[in-house]
Amino acid sequence: MSLLKHVIAVAMLVTLTAGTAGGQEANYSREGADTCLACHENEAVLPLFKGPHANPTDPNGPFGHGQLQCEACHGPTGDHAGRVRRGQERTAPGIIFGANSTTPIDVQNEQCLGCHSGDTGFGWHGNDHDLNEVGCAGCHSSHVAKDPVLVTATQPEVCFDCHQQQRTQSLKPYAHPIRQGKMDCSGCHSPHGATSELQFAQQTLNDTCFDCHAEKRGPYLWEHAPVAEDCSNCHDPHGSNHPGMLSMRGPMLCQSCHSQSGHPSLPADGDGLPGAMPSQFMLGQNCLNCHTQVHGSNHPSGSRLMR
């Protein structure tokens, strides 16, 4: 970085901050949004006025009475909107949003958090997205009528831009109804930050699963220890090749932990298929053919999870 750039930058900092403190205005445009729209009245900008940001009756919104309109987010644009001499390049507005912007991500995000720290930005600082320099505008589109990341059907594709492996998993034959557009990532994860592991929407992984699958919460009279501890001991919630989103085909999944006396741990090979000696231990629901209460039983005689 050249010395000249440093000098210019520091000079701007001093000028802008000192100027505001001293009662002089920063170089804002002469007519606010009207100045901007003189050039930017196009399809990339106008949908902004169908969304929540451009609401003149919201006193705290960018277009509320006395607010700074476009410059509330983009910073002073007086220089950007000013006359440009022949051969001179127009200066950029103070803040440009997006992953490829020259405006640093943390600066972009602070601009958003200036208004949103009380709601979605509450736990932003220090969360994994913040630490990995994910910009608000990397996920959110503010110049549209309906932000795609706020619509269940379109949100996952926004997340999959970075989380590509989860896209692959969501297409597996047994998965939550994400590819059908009926479930989104934020049903389980809190992308704006949480102190939970993996930014779960609830305190723990199990609490998050129980939010929709409350029938499995119990406590049961007869519990299955790995269920009480961690649902992902047996399930792959992003998708699996196996029914029930199990991480492995039964009965082998059960046999990874159980080798029982009087109940031989038989290899589930081709001998047990129809046409040979059909095995109740491997066909249909395999172990669950009898131990149907694998998530727990509340029957006094249900200690073997059969009742």
Binding site: M12, T20, E71, I95, N100, G114, T152, S256, S265
Partner: protein, 700 residues
């Protein structure tokens, strides 16, 4: 993006300016005359008709399109703005079992009230059959002509008694929420939802050595409450929240006629369905920011209690077995949860940052331990007294990491994670896992980024208590994989390039993890996972864009088993793989009057399980596989400023080979009466025509 300090300083200056400037800038002449603010009412209303080419339950899973024929398709969105009040609505699939409707009304910046309704269809099988009939809400009966037998081959009335029974459920969710902002620093919110489920699922009703698949009715609901307040007080943000979830099952049990020959008194079987339960939690969380080293401290503390006091069923429905210990009326089940978290992130230098986090989760099962008798499957009064086991655990996680920006283009990170887990009543009372990792991130330009992360972890168990294992009848050589010693290596690489001048982006990720359970003689001994993905998108012009995505995942595992209750006698190697690829394009033509979108996805899943060892037959298992092709085409033509004509087509083909279902008729298994489900195999077209009508000044 390259972090340019000059830009950062400039931008910070710009950032600081608006807040300070708000009171300074004279905006009295900022008329916003060219701002097309919304006024009055405007809406896009979608209506049409879809034709579904076949009755396929599985295709209807999530979509609601499980029946052949024409279906009305209604949806849209709208907004009404007046005197500071804003009302919006959004609807999709109103003619289907997957319908969604959301309505919000409020005064932006002051309050908002929302009401939502959605349905989610769960369709598992459409080709299943049962001999049972639901005689009341929780009793399944056999036909009067049913002839019992010791095995399914003796069910002489089976063929004449079978009747179709789809396995499907519907989930209906009603949501109501409100937010109120008395000041810009305080936010109050309260949300309520009810999730109701009804339908039929499969549940096995077992006898001593036999079992029958039951079409189990589902009729339950969960009420959920979320309420809280958030305060902004200078550098401190605080939130106080309440969460309550109340599950209610309208059915406490399921009783069925035993189809197999039975000893006198065991003509009926009964199992318990999921009991009602309550869970309530209070939490306090906060964030504190200080300019000292640009530090952020976040914390949360939550305490919860789960209770379950459903009335207990008797030990048995068998009236011939009466000499059993008396039962308490309810379990008096109680689980207390505690969750504490603390995170500190700091940037003591412009090129360095550190993070320290600690999290503690506890599940403390306070359910009283009682001695219980046991009747084996309503047939044999035996088993002797045994105590219930209220599992509890404490889990503590510590993470320390740091990042150093070596150059403007390169940053390196490293970290150490430690997890300690204490349990009650399980083979491993204490285990710990230590993980070390490193990461490098290279951004030579604003449009190119590469990241590599790698590390290793070791899970140690203090003592695998084989006495507990033996007391439960387990082979003492078995090591449950979530309790076993494990060494893991992992690595991750990602590359992304995005050219803003030629809107084109390419992304690639690769991940691998290799697990070794070297101290396990039985159970899982090895597992490894490889994933690779690549994405490409290109905005060819303002009117056209294309994209391609692909990914593959392979999960391999080896486990050892013993059918002789000694050392390993067989080995199973699992080879799970999954691949998908797809692409599509968007095209606007005819001066933006025509919008065309096309998407195609192909996915293939395969699982091969190979057995080896002295006890293994030479008959190999067939491969489990599934293939799905999914194609979507949509076309929109702008007829006038208010009217668009739409056309859509969707094709999905799914084929699967699954030895667990293939050829398994209701009487295939001698001792299990199944419902005869088949592997998924379908080919469905959906074709639809419709229109979008635009209402309101928006289109003038």
């Amino acid at each position: 993006m390259r972090q340019n300090n000059a830009l950062r300083i400039t931008a910070l200056a710009v950032l600081l300016a608006p807040a300070a400037a708000l009171a300074q800038v004279d905006t009295s002449e900022w008329k916003c005359e060219y701002c097309p603010f919304e006024k009055g009412y405007s809406a896009d209303v979608d209506a049409g008709v879809n034709y579904v080419s076949d009755d396929v339950a599985r295709f209807g899973n999530g979509t609601g399109m499980d029946e052949i024929g024409a279906e009305v398709d209604l949806g849209g969105n709208g907004v009404y703005v007046s005197d500071g009040t804003r009302m919006t609505w959004y609807a999709e699939d109103l003619g289907l079992d997957s319908r969604v409707l959301d309505i919000t009304v409020g005064k932006p910046g002051t309050y908002e009230i929302g009401l939502g309704y959605r349905e989610l269809p769960y369709r598992l099988f459409g080709d299943t059959a049962t001999v049972f009939t639901l005689s009341d809400s929780q009793t399944l009966t056999l036909p009067a002509t049913w002839v019992t037998a010791g095995t399914t081959s003796g069910f002489t009335e089976l063929a004449s008694s079978l009747r179709p029974q789809n396995i499907e459920k519907d989930r209906q969710v009603i949501e109501f929420g409100a937010t109120y902002l008395p000041t810009s620093k305080v936010r109050l919110y309260a949300d309520y939802s009810r999730q109701q489920r009804d339908g039929v699922s499969i549940m096995a009703g077992s006898r001593f050595t036999q079992s029958a698949y039951l079409p189990r009715p589902v009729d339950d609901y969960t009420d959920r409450f979320d309420a809280g307040v958030r305060f902004l007080a200078g550098p401190v943000n605080l939130a106080l929240a309440y969460y309550g979830s109340f599950y209610r099952n309208e059915l406490d049990s399921l009783t069925w006629d035993n189809p197999f020959s039975m000893v006198p008194g065991a003509e009926l079987g009964r199992l318990a369905l999921e009991p009602d339960n309550d869970f309530q939690q209070f939490s306090l969380s906060g964030v504190y920011r200080t300019d000292t080293f640009n530090t952020v401290i976040a914390f949360s503390a939550a305490m919860g209690r789960g209770e379950q006091n459903d009335k207990l069923l008797p030990y048995t429905i068998n009236s011939t077995l009466v000499s059993l210990a008396p039962l308490p009326p309810t379990l008096d089940g109680q689980v207390d949860t505690s969750n504490y978290a603390f995170t500190l992130t700091s940037r003591p230098h412009k090129r360095a940052s550190v993070k320290l986090s600690y999290r503690f989760d506890e599940r403390d099962n306070q359910t009283p331990v009682t001695m219980w008798s046991r009747v084996i499957t309503d047939t044999i009064g035996s088993g002797g007294p045994e105590a219930n086991v209220p599992y509890s655990f404490e889990r503590a996680r510590l993470n320390v990491s740091g990042t150093l920006k070596v150059f403007d283009t390169l940053s390196v990170s490293g970290g150490y994670d430690r997890t300690d887990l204490d349990r009650d009543y399980q083979e491993v009372a204490q285990q710990s896992e230590d993980t070390g990792w490193g990461k490098a991130r290279w951004r030579p330009t604003a449009w190119l980024e590469a990241t590599f992360k790698g590390g290793a972890s070791r899970r140690e168990v203090e003592d695998y208590d084989t006495d507990i294992a033996v007391s439960l009848g387990q082979n003492p050589l078995m090591r449950k994989y979530n309790l076993a010693y494990r060494y893991r290596e992992f690595g991750e690489l990602s590359l992304s390039a995005s050219l803003p001048e030629k809107p084109l982006s390419v992304g690639m990720t690769w991940f691998y993890a290799d697990d070794s359970y070297t101290e396990s003689q039985l159970g899982m001994t090895e597992s490894n996972e490889d994933r690779f993905t690549v994405d490409f998108s290109w905005a060819v012009s303002d009117a056209a864009s294309i994209y391609v995505t692909a990914g593959t995942e392979a999960i391999d595992a080896i486990q050892l088993g013993s059918e002789t209750f000694t050392g390993p006698t067989w080995e199973a190697s699992h080879d799970d793989s999954f691949t998908h690829y797809g692409g599509g394009f968007r095209l606007a033509a005819m001066e933006d009057k025509l919008d065309l979108t096309f998407d195609y996805t192909r996915s293939d899943g395969e699982t091969e399980i190979l057995f080896a060892g002295q006890a293994v037959s030479p008959v190999p298992l067939p491969q489990l596989d599934s293939t799905m092709d999914s194609l979507r085409l949509s076309l929109r033509y702008v007829v006038s400023a208010r009217f668009d004509a739409t056309f859509g087509a969707r094709w999905e083909r799914f084929e699967a080979n699954d030895w667990a279902l293939e050829g398994v008729q209701p009487d295939t298994l001698p001792t299990v009466l199944t419902m005869g489900a088949s592997p998924y195999d379908y080919d469905v077209w959906v074709v639809g025509v419709g229109f979008r009508y635009k209402i309101g000044a928006d289109t003038d």
